[in-house]
Symmetry: C2
Subunit: 337 residues, 2 copies
């Protein structure tokens, strides 16, 4: 019943297995008549070519590997959707690995993916060892990074213009008259530093003083953010605005402000980052910076598949940069007199 092989089909059709192979692979050199006959038998017995045998010969898996930080985070799940939808429409499957932001785990999953012969790799915001990347390059495997950057030449990137995004947020608050702006730092992901740089540059350009006390430690989730916000507010009373490293951080910050009996945006203007879905239905709809996450995934998938179809391009660098966008809602207000 099971395991119908190409040979059995050939036998049943009274031809050699090669003729069957040709039919399966749509080779044109098969007589119409023989072809139809074989097709009928294939259908009747539900023959499916053996994936491993094909892989063994062709070294192709029709599978793409995707490593993300945390698939539950809407940022990644939307990106993953972009990747999966594109891949599936082109008859590739995607193995999703959840690194939990752990770079050792990332390395482990990477080697699992490699050993499964994935045809291409999309690595999202994960920090790998430079040595690992170099190995990957040597292996000539199509490789696209999203929102991360390495000091190695000729890699493929899909990334947001984070400096620009950071500037968008900082300039907006400054324009609203804010001078003392607290920065709740996101984890040390790619882009974080550029956004901090943009903040500092904006402050400097506008002749606003600031120092290290304007920056929190790394904040990993909304609970961290809640604590950090309560802490800084209790210490310093003259801040009027908060830049949150991402929307979850903004969420925690907003909760903290409310729990202290203060108002958003009355006492604190808050701006987030990412424009996750929930931001528009928050207690105070959140002003934030929009990142096209689905697009990151889609472009990354398209690029990786292009690369695997044209191996000569693999070592050509390509960088696609996407501009983020300010989404104004109600969590920021002007304090200009």
């Amino acid at each position: 019943m099971k395991n119908i092989t190409i040979k059995k089909i050939a036998e049943l059709a009274g031809v050699s297995h090669m003729t069957v192979s040709r039919v399966v692979n749509r080779d044109k050199y098969v007589k119409e008549e023989t072809k139809n006959k074989i097709l009928k038998i294939i259908k009747k017995y539900g023959y499916e070519p053996n994936y491993f045998a094909i892989g063994l010969k062709t070294k192709k898996s029709k599978t793409i590997g995707l490593i993300v930080g945390d698939i539950e985070n809407p940022y990644y799940s939307r990106l993953a959707k972009g990747v999966i939808n594109v891949c599936e429409s082109l008859n590739y499957n995607v193995i999703v690995c959840n690194s939990q932001y752990d770079s050792e785990l990332s390395e482990k999953y990477l080697s699992m993916l490699l050993s499964k012969g994935v045809d291409g790799l999309i690595i999202s915001n994960i920090d790998l060892k430079v040595e690992t990347i170099k190995n990957l390059k040597e292996k000539q495997i199509p490789l696209v990074f999203t929102n991360i950057k390495y000091d190695i030449g000729d890699l493929n990137y899909i990334k947001a213009d984070d400096y620009y995004g950071g500037k968008l947020a900082a300039e907006y608050l400054v324009r609203l008259g804010h001078r003392k702006i607290y920065f709740l730092r996101p984890p040390d992901v790619y882009g974080a530093q550029e956004r901090i740089d943009a903040f500092k540059d904006t402050m400097t350009k506008n002749k606003i003083n600031f120092d290290d006390s304007y920056f929190s430690d790394f904040i990993f989730n909304e609970d961290d953010s809640y604590m950090a916000t309560k802490k800084f507010i209790s210490k310093q009373k003259d801040f009027t605005a908060i830049i949150a490293g991402n929307d979850f951080i903004a969420m925690g910050a907003m909760e903290a402000v409310f729990d202290l009996g203060l108002e958003v945006p009355g006492d604190f203007s808050i701006i987030g980052y990412d424009n996750l879905k929930f931001t528009k239905i928050m207690r105070v709809p959140l002003t934030t910076i929009k990142q096209p996450k689905y697009l990151f995934g889609k472009l990354a998938a398209e690029r990786v598949i292009e690369l695997l179809k044209r191996p000569n391009k693999i070592n050509k660098k390509k960088e696609i940069v996407i501009k983020p966008e300010l989404i104004e809602r109600l969590s920021c207000m002007s304090i200009n007199k």
Copy 2:
């Protein structure tokens, strides 16, 4: 440089490739000395056994297939995280397919997964043809369904007690004194009907009249819900509560109520379903029914891997039922005098 095979390692070590195979597979019948020598060479040349060759012989892929409705939906992404984390910790990878709630696509992805020789399958809330399921059963492939049910015996399920969940919601509102409760119906996923039944039973038991006008059409997302809510409120003025089929539906409903200049819970009590993360930071923190989504994924993965290790159990039915839980927040109020 590339493609170091077992034979090359054998040659380098001056043994047969079988001895290398034994070392790789931790067979004990290898002299300590030879073993170490081979291990050293393996490490030196970075030898990795070829996945396809192994698969061709063993028919095992160390891969699990997961089909979800929409990976971007927090319900599925959290479930997927449960699946992925468990699988990865046991050295399985997972191919994630995004069916977009389309049952034809689901069938297509299913056959892609099958042709890739996945060792097991987790199918989440997706409606497949009964015939397809039967085929799957014949193939003896480990198979676990989450939150869906078929009229075929001896299948493996991980599911929530949806009747109980529905009852929880309905009884809660009735207890608060509500009599005219509008039901915003979720898409026709598994469990939806049981929750509606629970609602009807609760109403009947409490001698509360209701009819078809108490139920909306199927609602697929927050925008649908927004429209549907505006519509029913404009028509009927005496409803005091809304049961939303899921939290996104509740989100749309709440927006609509506010946009009509009405209050939650003052004019309408709203209860959601799922307890997604964002519900606690909504404009009015949402009372909802908690479903342990990570647990669904975790249990499904554990079960599927158990099954593939004990093939004799594959056709034994097992149903794990999880009780949902009421999470009281601020979106419902008592109207008892």
